[in-house]
Subunit: 281 residues, 2 copies
């Protein structure tokens, strides 16, 4: 693994950093492909929106892009995690609005998943841990992740690859590490994320691809009943791309396709195209 | 300031620590008085309950107590913050149940507050930022504190000393850094914390003192209307002790006493007594 803290090779951060003390920060998980950070422009846009929501100070974006590009250049295929923290603070929740943010980058190997999972689909469980309703934090990828940690601890079976998370009104929101899409009578549906959940980069890519296909899309509240009745389901994130869901334990089995593999193929073409591959230079 | 990481003087922690990555940890803010950690037994009990809730591994409590006692011994009056993190992890929300927790201690000077605040009372605002309903995290003092960070950022006026936080059903839960008590027709009332909030150490002390006084106490949901109609209000935490509330902006003014000063006096006697001062040795 390789690390950068504000551009310097370091694998530790100050104990007083507000990420340690309060989870006061944001992150992005970027797929490095061909030694370049994939969909970097989209990641930076979401990071910027998170910075606004959390009232972060101005970020030196040019330095961040330079550091990300340099680090990504050190591995053909890898995971590059960007963490922005509110920096070092005095004791107490109050923050100094002029305190510079800290940029923490880590480059690590790609996780190993079974080779045929993207084609043959996965088994999913429904988590007991609910996502709380918190509009001021919904959508952004902040560092307060105990709900996901507890949800992921609910299963240990390596044959289960993701857990669906619901809110307390029994609406389906997302996976522990992914967003979820379903096909309902020819429409591609993904849950609304205005009350909870993370608006994933791959989710935004999939929505754009569907629109290119003239596939009707809807972002709306999704019930378990609607998930049960869907004709196809898949989950997605920046690392896994698109994974078809073959079975949701205790709820339903699904066929694979036709839309899910078509979108997965379209994703491969798109990410290799100039547009998908564009990143700030 | 002084630091200990697993007993060693160090002021940084690994970038891969799960406190940095996910806020995956717990904390306690301990008042050091006379070079001893005040109410340490109560703090450790809550920490232990948090460890169970978050499914932490076994904690070497004897080492922790020794480190806390040693560090507290270095200052007559100070703040000793204990952070327990789930230690260093691999990438992803999943944790290794056998991974040792990390103990991070910091000793810092007491915050400076106006001298007469404990007698003359404070001005309080009502925060717009709501606490989300999350029973699996309610009551414990975990490191996911963005709600408090955002709530504390709502005011900058140094004449306002605390902000009241409500849940999304308009029930009053706590202050950004304190618990809240009100006197309603002779009964001491404090909000239920089963859906959100932190069950403070000073809150538990105040409840015990009230019972010693044969003062009726109730832990129940509290509406803003009930706060408006209360005859006395105070907030409390381990550092400030008890602060009477003189005014809540836009809601009501309150007299000071008679119960609040009586409880504050009782607190002083109690903390100096053998029972209050007891800590594991």
């Amino acid at each position: 693994m390789k690390f950068r803290v504000n551009g310097i090779a370091r694998d530790s951060i100050p104990a007083l950093d507000r990420a340690v003390q309060y989870g006061d920060g944001l992150f992005e998980t970027v797929r490095v492909r061909g030694a370049r950070p994939e969909f970097l422009a989209r990641h930076l846009k979401r990071l910027g929106s998170g910075c606004q929501r959390l009232r972060f100070p101005a970020i030196p974006w040019a330095s961040l892009v330079q550091e990300v590009t340099e680090l990504a250049g050190q591995a053909p295929d890898a995971v590059l995690k960007i963490i922005l923290t509110r920096g070092q603070g005095e004791r107490g929740y109050r923050f100094d609005p002029d305190q510079d943010a800290t940029r923490l980058l880590t480059l690590s190997p790609l996780p190993e998943w079974p080779a045929d999972i993207a084609r043959h689909g996965i088994r999913v469980t429904i988590c007991d841990t609910r996502l709380c309703v918190q509009p001021v934090l919904a959508g952004i990828k902040h560092l307060n992740r105990l709900e996901q940690v507890l949800a992921r601890a609910e299963w240990d079976n390596p044959g289960i690859h993701e857990g669906l998370m619901l809110d307390h009104t029994d609406h389906v929101i997302e996976g522990t590490m992914s967003n979820v899409f379903l096909v309902c009578e020819g429409t591609l549906v993904t849950p609304t994320l205005t009350a909870c959940g993370v608006a994933g980069i791959m989710r935004s890519v999939v929505l754009d691809l569907a629109r290119q296909f003239d596939l009707p899309t809807e972002i709306r509240p999704v019930t378990l009943q609607q998930v049960r009745n869907a004709s196809e389901i898949f989950v997605c994130n920046s690392l896994i791309g698109i994974w078809p869901v073959r079975v949701i334990d205790g709820l339903a089995d699904y066929p694979i396709g036709p839309l899910t593999p078509a979108l997965a193929d379209a994703l491969i073409s798109y990410r290799d195209s100039d547009e998908g591959n564009w990143y700030p230079s």
